[in-house]
């Protein structure tokens, strides 16, 4: 029998200053002590294994202190598929401090450090990045990220799963510069209509935008194969066998799914992140970063071109322990170092404090990554069906100002109001035409008008949800494909939108989007690690913000004219 009373609050009277501090947003965030025995520790744990490797008869027989008979399936997968057997013994013999310095030193080329990385085990990689502080991690990132030109990804979702809202916000996000757009649902059955809204709206905003719909894996693949979406990202992997098995998955099943996308020429990446294993209570006593490095190597072994990482939906866990955000920056670095496209998080509500939100973003924004956010909420956070992002539509002007202040390219730009209204309106009208042609519940002119000027889902007339869900089902039952949508757009007077959409679909045949870190320019020129390779080699090299793009980023909502200080330019 037990008898317990809740702890009483402190009876000490607080100073007025303490009251001020208590009321700061940062004190709404949660922080916990480390518990390394259980894996509640970012990246420095006595319980992580020491690096080791032994090769016999062309096969790894020992990995990080375990012999092959002690391997779990992650060890087996990494030993058999991720590590370059030829390179590993000499790479492992290189002192970690030498490797860490090569990562930072601009005189060591990206190709050299990537080649060395191919021979390293998870514990050795951890040993290397543990030597690096956050500035060194950023230094290394600007060299090892695979694509030269940074980019960004947006979420376009609706708290009411309203396809018109998703289309209008997709168009706005596209014209603001996002290279990829992602949606998901509150009510999963709405998916076909919302995915169509995203695709149509995205193509209205500018050419070359790629879209995806995060769903249960079979439906996500189906929408991709139909050409209603252009790529996929929500293929989650985990750092321990127990968590993997909890999800009824193995590295082999995930690799099989990856090959299903590849078979249709569809771009895809895996998703992982620090904190997921300890969150599920099965970290097996390893640090968050050690387990994430296992995920990164598993992704590499599966042959996928990229990885979304940076803790992602578990950011509250590394965010609450000492050094956790350094570990998150390090996991992005390791993904890039392992020659994968890195969509680097900054995609989930992380802190109540605007200062903490910004500082969490700095490593990826300042050094540049393949997608700084994965993604940035292109809708107000209350409409974000990924449970909120680190950045949302309210932050657009702040983001643009930081780009201008620091002369860095975070993938976005300020866009004049008339242009934004025009693309939002056109996206809603294009979707109106598509719905009419497909005999889906009509989109009214009132809804088109609302979409043009809206901020959130509250600003739209309510849809008949049950009728929409019937319509969504009929889209799947009738086997509507991306090509059907292209034809509809062409014959309803949206020829330019149809042309853009068709270009996205045609890439499946050419396979250009299967190259590492591939995106499109607005003119449909693919930019990937093979034709836009990161050539950073120290000051004066690599991606530099200059010329036309820099002129574009100098523009903000309010800038006083030098010529006539009584006016503003925009």
């Amino acid at each position: 029998m037990t008898a317990v009373a809740p702890r009483s609050a402190s009876s000490v009277q607080a100073s007025k200053r303490t009251e001020v501090l208590e009321n700061r947003p940062v004190n709404l965030d949660g922080f916990v002590e480390e518990w390394p025995e259980k894996g509640l520790v970012a990246m420095e744990s006595d319980f992580d294994p020491q690096p080791s490797v032994r090769v016999e008869d062309g096969r790894i027989v020992e990995l990080d202190g375990r012999t092959r008979d002690e391997f779990d399936f992650m060890d087996t997968y990494i030993a058999d598929h991720a590590i370059d057997i030829e390179a590993c013994e000499s790479a492992m013999a290189t002192p970690s401090v030498d490797i860490a310095r090569m990562l930072v030193d601009p005189r060591a080329t990206r190709a050299e450090v990537v080649a060395l990385g191919r021979g390293l085990t998870p514990a050795k990689i951890l040993d290397v990045v543990k030597l690096m502080n956050v500035v060194e991690i950023m230094m290394a990132m600007q060299k090892v990220r695979s694509r030269r030109t940074p980019a960004n990804q947006a979420h376009s979702t609706s708290a009411k799963d309203n396809p018109i809202q998703v289309a209008a916000d997709a168009a706005e996000a596209a014209v603001r510069g996002f290279a990829e757009l992602e949606t998901t649902l509150g009510v999963v059955r709405y998916a076909p209509l919302v995915a169509i809204g995203l695709q149509v709206g995205g193509q209205v905003g500018r050419g070359g935008v790629l879209t995806q719909c995060a769903l249960e894996e079979a439906t996500e693949l189906d929408l991709g194969m139909r050409g209603i979406t252009a790529y996929a990202e929500t293929i989650s992997i985990y750092g321990t066998e127990s968590v993997f098995v909890d999800g009824d998955d193995t590295p082999w099943s995930k690799a099989f799914l990856a090959s299903a996308y590849a078979s249709r020429g569809i771009k895809m990446r895996f998703t992982s992140g620090t904190g997921s294993e300890v969150q599920m209570g099965n970290a097996e006593g390893r640090s968050m970063l050690f387990l994430e490095i296992r995920c990164i190597l598993m992704a590499k072994g599966a042959g996928v071109q990229g990885l979304q990482n940076g803790s992602i939906s578990c950011i509250g866990v590394p965010g609450a322990v000492p050094g956790g955000i350094r570990a998150v920056a390090a996991e992005n670095l390791v993904a890039s170092w392992m020659d994968l496209e890195c969509a680097s998080g900054n995609d989930q509500s992380f802190s109540h404090s605007a200062m903490r939100r910004t500082s969490r973003l700095v490593p990826q924004l300042f050094s540049g990554t393949d997608f700084v956010c994965s993604g940035y909420s292109g809708v107000p956070n209350k409409d974000n069906m990924f449970a909120g992002s680190n950045l949302d539509t309210e932050d657009y002007d702040d983001w643009n100002t930081i780009q201008r202040d620091m002369q860095i390219d975070g993938g976005l730009r300020h866009v004049r109001e008339d242009v934004i209204l025009q693309v939002r309106n056109k996206a809603a009208r294009a979707l109106q035409a598509v719905f009419a042609e497909l005999d889906l519940p009509a989109i009214t002119d009132e809804e088109v008008e609302a979409a043009t000027y809206a901020d959130s889902s509250d600003d739209y007339p309510d849809r008949d949800v049950l009728a929409d869900l019937d319509g969504a089902k009929s889209v799947m039952d009738r086997g509507v494909t991306g090509l059907d949508l292209v034809k509809i757009l062409e014959r309803t007077g949206f020829g330019d939108v149809a042309e853009s959409y068709l270009q996205v679909l045609r890439q499946r045949v050419s396979g250009d989007l299967l190259q590492t870190a591939a995106i499109f320019t607005p003119d449909f020129v693919p930019l990937a690690a093979i034709n836009d390779a990161n050539d950073y080699a120290g000051p004066g090299t690599g991606y530099r913000l200059s010329g036309e793009r820099w002129e574009e980023l100098k523009k903000l909502r309010h800038v006083t004219s030098a010529e006539n200080p009584e006016e503003e330019v925009s």
Partner: protein, 194 residues
């Protein structure tokens, strides 16, 4: 977040009355508690006292004319397993499963373990009022009715504030698992401390 000062403080004792056995009352609701509920933990992730959780669940059940039994499970800290076990020994087949941190599920004997009648996954959003509504719905399910589900709440800032503490509480609850100890029926004794 703390309990308003005007509320009286109540303590909870769970007095063991015997092994948890199959009930016979056709309208009973079993409240199945996790290994650390009440001891060593005393309150949910947002400091709702465990005494208050039990008090509100029982009040909700009672005001809908139901009856309740409380059991404590030691062999697992998996909410679905705790609740499903409770449902299997419940005379009505209905159980409320509650973890120490507050996460709650309404379960029914005939459902698959990982399915449920109603799930309340965001423990930080569960307050006294919600626990009372959960109790009321449990009683109605136990009487063969189909109540309107308790409205779900959502807070996109719950992650930054609570995610890590939830992970910590989850790990601690796991440490309280006793594989050798069978579930017991307990009599909740709620004492007001003035």
């Amino acid at each position: 977040m703390s309990t308003p000062t005007q509320d009286p403080v109540r303590t909870l004792s769970l007095r063991e009355v015997g092994p948890a056995e199959r009930g016979t009352r056709a309208d009973e609701v079993v409240i199945a508690l996790s290994p650390a509920f009440g001891d060593p933990f005393t309150k949910t992730i947002v400091d709702v006292p465990h005494a208050e959780v039990i008090r509100q669940l029982l009040a909700g059940i009672e005001e809908r004319g139901g009856s309740a039994r409380v059991i404590k499970v030691y062999k697992t800290a998996d909410l679905a397993a705790i609740a499903h076990f409770g449902a299997k020994i419940s005379g009505s087949g209905i159980a409320v499963g509650v973890l120490s941190r507050g996460t709650t599920v309404l379960h029914q004997r005939d459902l698959a373990r990982l399915s449920n009648l109603e799930l309340f996954p965001q423990a930080p959003l569960l307050d006294a009022e919600v626990f009372r509504m959960i109790g009321a719905n449990a009683a109605q399910y136990a009487q063969g009715q189909s109540p309107r589900p308790v409205p779900t709440r959502n807070d996109q800032m719950a992650r930054p504030r609570w995610q890590a503490k939830a992970a910590l509480l989850h790990l601690k609850e796991f440490e309280c698992i006793d594989h050798s100890r069978n579930a017991v029926e307990v009599e909740p004794v709620i004492t007001r401390v003035d």
